[in-house]
C-alpha cells in the first residue's frame, strides 16, 4: 500500500449462499482521488461499498480505510467515511434539519459543533428552503441532496456514493455532478454507477466491475493502451482490408461506415471525398506506432486517404472489449 492510499482492497470476496457477488477484487484509491466504479446492475458495486462502510462483512479478503481494517476497526472506519446508499433511504417522518442534526449527533458532533455542521451542509447543498419540511414530502432531487448532506455533515475524509444520480432529472444530475467534482483533491471519493457517461464526467480514474470481477482498475489507461486509428479511404473495401491487414502491428480492422457508390451524386459528398470512401477503425497491438506505416501502405497502393486520426480513448469500447474478453476466457475455461 502506498502511503497516500486511503482505500485499499485486497482479494475481496463476498458470497451470498451459492452466489458469488464479489470475486477476488483488489484495488487502491489515493488521497484526494475521485474514482468511478462502473458496472452493470448486479455486478457487485453496492456489495463492495457496503463492505467498505462496515455494513457487510466480506467472505474473504481485506479492506482498509486510512490503514484501518473495516472489520476490526469498524467504528473508527465509519467515523472516517460518509456514505450515500443507493436510492437515498431516509427517515420520511423526520424533518430535514432534525434528521441532519440526528446524523451529526450519532457521528460524534454535539451542541454548537453539530448546529454549525448542519447549517454548513444545508448551505452547501442548498437545503435551507426545505430545512423544516418532512423528508417524506421532498422531491427525489432534494432527497438525494439530503442523503449527500448527511454523508458530509461530519466532514469525513472519504466519501462513498452509490448511484448518486440514479433517476434524477437533468438539472439535479448536473448539481450532483458539480458537487462531486468540487470535492476532488479535498476528499477521497468512490462513486458507483451503471451509467458510463456519468462516471466519465466526474471520475479521474474508472474501475470496471462485471459479475463481481474487477476487469480493470484504470479503464482510461486501458483505452489509451489499446490504440485505435480512424481512417477514411476511398477504394474497394476488400482490397483496402487486405492492405491494412498486412501492416505490421495491426491486430483488428472494422469497417465503420461506407459512402454510397452509385446512388449519390459526387456533388452531395464532402469536398475532397470520393464516391466509395469508407471509414475503417484499425486497432494496433499494445504500444505499437502504426500510423506512418498505414499511411505509406494505403497511399502506396493508390487508394485515396482523406482522413487519419487517433480518437481519444473510447470508454464504451474499452468496456465492451473487456467484457468480451472475460466471456471468451470463461467460455474457453468451460
Amino acid at each position: 500500500m502506498a502511503n497516500s492510499d486511503l482505500i485499499t482492497v485486497e482479494h475481496l470476496m463476498k458470497r451470498y449462499g451459492p452466489h458469488m457477488a464479489v470475486r477476488d477484487v483488489s484495488f487502491s484509491v489515493g488521497e484526494g482521488e475521485v474514482i468511478g466504479l462502473l458496472g452493470p446492475n448486479g455486478s457487485g458495486k453496492s456489495t463492495i461499498m457496503r463492505i467498505l462502510t462496515g455494513f457487510l462483512p466480506p467472505s474473504a479478503g481485506k479492506a482498509r480505510i486510512a490503514g484501518l481494517d473495516v472489520i476490526h476497526n469498524s467504528l473508527a472506519v465509519r467515523r472516517r467515511v460518509g456514505y450515500v446508499p443507493e436510492d437515498a433511504p431516509l427517515y420520511n417522518g423526520m424533518r430535514v434539519r432534525e434528521f441532519l442534526r440526528f446524523m451529526a449527533e450519532i457521528k460524534g458532533l454535539s451542541g454548537t459543533a453539530a448546529r454549525k455542521a448542519v447549517a454548513a451542509v444545508c448551505d452547501r447543498l442548498d437545503l435551507d428552503a426545505v430545512a423544516t419540511k418532512p423528508i417524506g414530502a421532498l422531491s427525489r432531487g432534494y432527497r438525494q441532496r439530503v442523503a449527500i448532506a448527511q454523508a458530509l455533515v461530519n466532514d469525513p475524509p472519504v466519501l462513498i456514493l452509490d448511484e448518486p444520480t440514479n433517476a434524477l432529472d437533468a438539472y439535479h444530475v448536473i448539481g450532483v455532478r458539480d458537487l462531486i467534482r468540487s470535492l476532488a483533491g479535498r476528499r477521497t471519493v468512490l462513486v458507483a454507477s451503471h451509467v458510463l457517461s456519468e462516471i466519465e464526467r466526474v471520475a479521474s480514474r474508472i474501475m470496471i466491475l462485471v459479475e463481481g470481477k474487477l476487469l480493470t482498475a484504470d479503464a482510461l489507461q486501458e483505452g489509451a493502451r489499446a490504440r485505435r486509428l480512424r481512417l477514411r479511404i476511398a477504394g474497394p473495401p476488400p482490397a483496402i482490408l487486405a492492405v491494412l491487414g498486412q501492416v505490421s502491428g495491426v491486430v483488428g480492422i472494422e469497417v465503420e461506415s461506407a459512402s454510397p457508390e452509385r446512388n449519390s451524386s459526387p456533388n452531395s459528398l464532402p469536398q475532397g471525398e470520393r464516391a466509395g470512401a469508407a471509414t475503417y477503425l484499425v486497432t494496433a497491438a499494445s504500444g505499437a506506432e502504426i500510423a506512418p506505416d498505414i499511411a505509406r501502405a494505403v497511399i502506396g497502393q493508390g487508394f485515396g486517404l482523406s482522413e487519419l486520426v487517433e480518437p481519444p480513448p473510447n470508454l464504451e469500447q474499452v468496456f465492451l472489449d473487456l467484457t468480451r474478453r472475460v466471456r471468451e476466457s470463461e467460455d474457453k475455461a468451460a
Binding site: R50, T53, G54, F55, L56, L75, A76, R78, R79, V81, Y83, P85, D87, P89, L90, Y91, N92, G93, M94, F102, M103, E105, I106, K107, G108, S110, A147, Q150
Partner: protein, 233 residues
C-alpha cells in the same frame, strides 16, 4: 453517551409521533377503566388484582403492535443501512429501541396509577399487592418488549413480526397448562417457562427473586439475540 441519547430521542420521537402509541394507550385506558369500574362496584373491595391480570392479557396483545416496526420497518425502508454505517454499535441501536418501547409501557402503567389513587381516596387498599403488581407488570413488559424486539429484528415485515411475537406470547401463556403432563424433568421446565406462573405471585402480593429473574432473563435474551440478528444484517 450523547450519541446514545440522540438515538433514544429519535426512537422516542418516532414512537410518540406515530398514531400507534396513542391508539394503544387509548385502548388500554378504556378497557382498564371499564374493568376497574365494574370490579369495584360489584365486589366493593379496594384491590387491583383483577386489573393486574387484565393488564397482563392486554400486554400480550399490545406489545407486538408496539414492537413490530422497531427493526423490521428500518430493514424494509433500508434506513438500517444509513444507521449502521454511522459510528454507532448495534447494541446502542437495540438498547435505544428497547428503552423507547419500554417507556410507552411505563407510561401506560403510570396512567393506570389513577385507579390506585382512586382506591386510596375512597378506601383503604393494601398497598403491598399494589406495589408488587406494578413491579411484576413492569418486569413482564420488559420481557415482552425484549421478545418483540427480537422478532422484529429477525424479519423484514412488520405484520409477520407482530404475528410471531403474538404466537410466542400465547405459547408462553398456555405452556404450563399442558407442560405438567410431560415426564419429569420436562414438566418442571415447561411449567417454569410460563409467563402466568411467574406473574401470578407478583399480582397477588408475593415477590420472589426467581420470578423477577425469569422476566429479566427473558428481556436480556431478547436483547442479546436482537443485537446478534442486527450484526448478521
Amino acid at each position: 453517551m450523547k450519541t446514545f441519547f440522540a438515538l433514544l430521542l429519535k426512537e422516542e420521537k418516532a414512537l410518540f409521533t406515530s398514531p400507534i402509541a396513542y391508539v394503544v394507550v387509548s385502548v388500554f385506558l378504556v378497557i382498564m377503566g371499564y374493568t376497574f369500574t365494574l370490579t369495584l362496584f360489584v365486589s366493593r373491595v379496594p384491590t387491583l388484582v383483577h386489573l393486574f391480570f387484565q393488564i397482563y392479557v392486554l400486554f400480550l396483545l399490545i406489545v407486538p403492535v408496539i414492537t413490530m416496526r422497531l427493526v423490521a420497518e428500518e430493514r424494509r425502508s433500508r434506513t438500517l443501512e444509513v444507521l449502521l454505517t454511522a459510528p454507532i454499535t448495534e447494541a446502542a441501536v437495540v438498547l435505544a429501541k428497547y428503552l423507547a418501547s419500554l417507556s410507552l409501557i411505563a407510561l401506560m402503567l403510570l396512567l393506570s396509577g389513577a385507579y390506585a389513587i382512586t382506591l386510596a381516596i375512597f378506601g383503604a387498599p393494601d398497598w403491598g399487592p399494589i406495589y408488587s403488581g406494578y413491579i411484576g407488570l413492569l418486569l413482564l413488559g420488559a420481557a415482552l418488549v425484549g421478545i418483540g424486539l427480537l422478532t422484529s429484528s429477525l424479519v423484514g415485515n412488520q405484520i409477520i413480526a407482530a404475528l410471531l411475537s403474538l404466537s410466542l406470547f400465547l405459547l408462553l401463556w398456555i405452556i404450563d397448562r399442558f407442560g405438567w403432563m410431560l415426564p419429569d424433568p420436562f414438566n418442571a421446565l415447561f411449567v417454569n417457562l410460563s409467563l402466568l406462573v411467574h406473574f401470578t405471585p407478583f399480582a397477588t402480593g408475593s415477590v420472589f427473586l426467581s420470578d423477577a429473574g425469569y422476566f429479566v432473563s427473558m428481556a436480556l435474551l431478547g436483547l442479546f439475540f436482537s443485537v446478534r440478528a442486527l450484526a448478521q444484517r
